[in-house]
């Protein structure tokens, strides 16, 4: 079976949102900066609730922030 992984565009979205810092995003999403770093680096797949919260911070649909793709098939 092919392996899938959760990819994200958080870095790009932060940059497009007035160069929002990881700390600012963490505060708005109600998590620690370490969690944002882990998500951004693809080391941690957030819960559905946190994923929605992050999308809400950027004001975009969930699929614009996260995608479920084949490993090594990053956009």
């Amino acid at each position: 079976m092919q392996k899938h992984q959760v990819h994200n565009n958080i870095r790009k979205l932060r940059f497009n949102n007035g160069e929002m810092t990881q700390e600012q995003l963490a505060e708005k999403a109600g998590v620690t900066r370490q969690t944002i770093i882990a998500i951004e680096g693809g080391k941690y797949a957030p819960s559905l609730e946190l994923a929605f919260k992050i999308a809400l911070v950027f004001g975009v649909p969930l699929q614009d922030v996260f995608s479920y793709e084949l490993e090594g098939d990053e956009k």
Binding site: E27, Q34, T35, K43, Y44, P46, S47
Partner: protein, 150 residues
């Protein structure tokens, strides 16, 4: 440094100190063949109470120090944001699971010493040692899970 990392560090340092204290007192008893139940139980009680007190006091002290350092660095009265999020809870749970496995194996090994003819006090002392060891390995595993993402 996150709230959880501070908490783990405090727990790790205090458990290591207590383990050192316990072994320093227990090993001479073993070497001299001086295992008296009253002394062994008193030592165990000290270790259990000290681990609780040290953990609580250490955490309070760490919070105070961090807030003072933060206030000096940022020149503001705003408190450091110390929250525990879903990732912290997941890492905590995984660490607890590792501790539980180590402790279970330790209890099993301790019981085996009793089965093979060692006194009950040896088994009891080993259970205390393994409980401290389980805490240390659990803390270290949390650091590992943190570096891996979760």
């Amino acid at each position: 440094m996150s709230y959880r990392k501070i908490s783990i560090s405090v727990s790790l340092v205090s458990t290591l100190l207590i383990m050192g204290y316990y072994l320093l007192n227990l090993i001479p008893m073993f070497q001299q063949g001086d295992l008296i139940s009253e002394r062994v139980f008193r030592l165990a009680a000290i270790v259990i109470i000290a681990s609780i007190v040290l953990n609580i006091a250490g955490n309070i002290l760490a919070h105070i120090v961090i807030n003072i350092v933060h206030a000096i660095q940022t020149q503001s009265e705003k408190e450091v944001r110390m929250i525990e999020d879903e990732r912290d809870k997941l890492i905590g749970l995984k660490g607890t699971q590792v501790s539980y496995i180590v402790f279970s194996l330790g209890v099993l090994a301790s019981m085996l010493t009793f089965v093979f003819g060692q006194p009950g006090l040896v088994m009891f002392s080993l259970i205390i040692i393994f409980s401290l060891l389980a805490e240390i390995i659990g803390n270290l595993s949390q650091f590992y899970f943190d570096s891996q993402g979760s």
